[in-house]
């Protein structure tokens, strides 16, 4: 700004960074505490007064988690549900988004708003229906029900992201290719898919994070131990591991690690999606 003195600018910088560091510490504290706890021994978890850093670093907690069903059963279940539903969602949403982006007709906007409106209806109001319908169809505690529910739930979100992407790809490119003698399939393969790959990747990452983390549908629709996801497993550990907080923390860290990696690799994607108003957490 024009009329601020140098001293003012330095003071402003100081206050800005001071506050941002303060907020950052608060935001990261619960995660850092769990990380530290996960490297404590069972007895060090229970010393008074409690300490932040492990007096003695150990992977005892992790070893205890390795003996549980988390890694052989729950994590693979989560991965299957998340990957399958995310891939199906991205493909279907891409079809629909491309259609809405290229075919204009009266009522198109109303239909799109209707679909976006579904995004505003949260899962909790459908929980009872899903449970009843799932039990009548005999598909409770299966990958099938989770994939169906996740796909149905994430479609509007995928559609929203991908339509914005397709809208940004100029139609002229497709027409030029067509005039040059490409048929529809070749236009799709050589022009459209390469151009929309970044968009598909964004949608894929965001939906993958959601489906991996999802808890509510999983805890209500999956009762068999063999079908449980990592989040349901971790929720159960809260009672079964009770004061073994080193193991509980280790389990938390193991479960969040894949998503943290995805996030750190694709964080620019997340920021952009969020700043442009993409709605899902």
């Amino acid at each position: 700004m024009l009329i601020r003195s140098k001293a003012q600018i330095i003071r402003d910088e100081f206050v800005t960074h001071g506050l941002l560091i303060f907020f950052s510490l608060i935001m990261v504290f619960p995660v850092a505490l769990s990380l530290m706890t996960s490297f404590k021994t069972k007895t060090d978890v229970m010393i008074l007064p409690p300490r932040f850093f492990p007096p003695q670093w150990t992977i005892e907690g992790y070893l205890k988690v390795f003996q549980s069903d988390l890694i052989p059963i729950y994590m693979p279940n989560s991965a299957i549900n998340a990957f399958v539903s995310t891939i199906i969602t991205v493909i279907f949403a891409a079809f629909a988004a491309y259609g809405f982006s290229r075919f204009k007709f009266k009522g198109s906007r109303a239909l799109q708003l209707g679909i976006l409106g579904l995004m505003m209806i949260p899962g909790v109001t459908n929980l009872v229906s899903y449970y009843r319908l799932g039990s009548q169809l005999g598909i409770l505690s299966t990958h099938l029900i989770m994939v169906l529910v996740y796909t149905g739930f994430e479609l509007p979100f995928g559609l929203l992201i991908l339509k914005n992407f397709f809208d940004a790809i100029p139609i002229d490119l497709e027409e030029a290719a067509k005039i040059d003698g490409c048929n529809s399939v070749r236009v799709l393969w050589h022009v459209l898919i390469p151009l929309s790959l970044p968009g598909l990747f964004v949608a894929f990452l965001l939906i993958l994070v959601y489906t991996w983390n999802e808890f509510l549908f999983a805890v209500t629709l999956l009762s068999a131990n063999s079908a449980r996801t990592a989040m349901v497993g971790l929720y159960d550990f809260q009672t079964s591991f009770e004061v073994a907080y080193h193991a509980l923390s280790a389990a938390s860290i193991i479960v969040l690690l894949p998503i943290l990696l995805v996030f750190i690799l694709g964080r620019k994607t997340f920021f952009r999606a969020m700043m442009e108003g993409a709605l899902k957490g």
């Binding site: 075919f103 505003m120 964080r267």
Partner: protein, 287 residues
């Protein structure tokens, strides 16, 4: 309107959108209608018999329903104010910041990508009765009892955890809006001798107001329906002191097996959401 694509016609369009539409009808629309059907019935031993409005009248005579409603109000209101207020402060700070912005954003964003169960587990641990690190600081003030075992304390923790998890959403949404504010406006305002608060209210606020409004609606909807993180932190307890309407629904169905009552509750929550959703769509249309 001109059909703007040489090989996009009505038939191709239909094939492109039908998988999505079909999925949405089966997974979202049909279950929503089905829960209305369930709400008018009595479900016993898996069998359905029509019961008229009995589920609703029973619910309306249940004091838990009203207490949960009040708790939902307290929870959502605090959640909303904190998310919008702190989110705006964070966004203004990030917008002024020229160095390390990406680093701050990454750190602030972490809670948002964590799952609700992981977040809940972490917050429980901080306030664990004997060995919780934050609890240890609070102990001298509250007679060495975990803050999570006090009704108001548990509510405060649940709200704080929810805000912690959701904050990046409002902060980044606001940051996006702040970046659209033209810098020249401030320069000319500064030349005219405007104070900082004048500049904020007369320039920044005017431009970001629609975004704040949108964020408020979305945050309200999420607050009303918050469930996963509350379950993972307090399971609605102690007693029922963090039992919001959504937790009440969960308990009614999965702890007490009263699916008819839960369906009636679903329908009521659905109506509240639809109303808020309609407001949201209206705002979207206007912007």
């Amino acid at each position: 309107m001109k059909v703007s694509n040489t090989f996009m016609n009505r038939r191709n369009f239909f094939w492109l959108i039908s998988p999505s539409i079909l999925f949405l009808l089966i997974i979202q629309v049909y279950p929503a209608i089905y829960s209305w059907y369930l709400s008018f019935g009595r479900i016993k031993g898996g069998k359905y018999t029509f019961a008229g409005l009995k589920n609703f009248t029973r619910l309306l005579h249940n004091s838990d329903f009203y207490e949960s409603l009040a708790r939902t109000g307290i929870f959502t209101f605090s959640f909303l104010i904190a998310c919008i207020g702190i989110g705006l402060i964070l966004a203004l700070l990030l917008n002024r910041c020229t160095k390390f912005t990406a680093l701050y954003m990454t750190i602030i964003f972490v809670p948002m990508v964590l799952s609700e169960v992981v977040g809940g587990t972490m917050w429980r641990w901080m306030f664990q009765q004997s060995f919780g690190l934050v609890q240890a600081f609070l102990n001298p003030f509250i007679n060495n009892v975990s803050i999570l075992s006090r009704p108001w304390g548990a509510m405060a923790v649940v709200i704080a955890a929810s805000v912690w998890k959701q904050l990046a959403f409002t902060a980044l949404l606001f940051l996006g809006a702040l970046q659209t504010v033209p810098k020249e406006l401030f320069e000319s305002a500064a030349l005219d001798g405007a104070t900082r608060s004048e500049m904020f209210w007369k320039i920044t606020w005017v431009i970001i107001r629609p975004t704040v409004l949108l964020a408020s609606i979305i945050t309200t909807i999420r607050g009303i329906n918050a469930l996963g993180l509350i379950l993972a932190t307090t399971q609605g307890g102690p007693g029922s002191s963090t039992m919001t309407e959504a937790v009440f629904l969960y308990r009614t169905a999965w702890q007490f097996g009263k699916f008819g009552d839960a369906a009636a509750l679903s329908v009521m929550m659905f109506l509240i959401n639809i109303t808020l959703g309609a407001v949201y769509i209206r705002l979207l249309k206007e912007s």
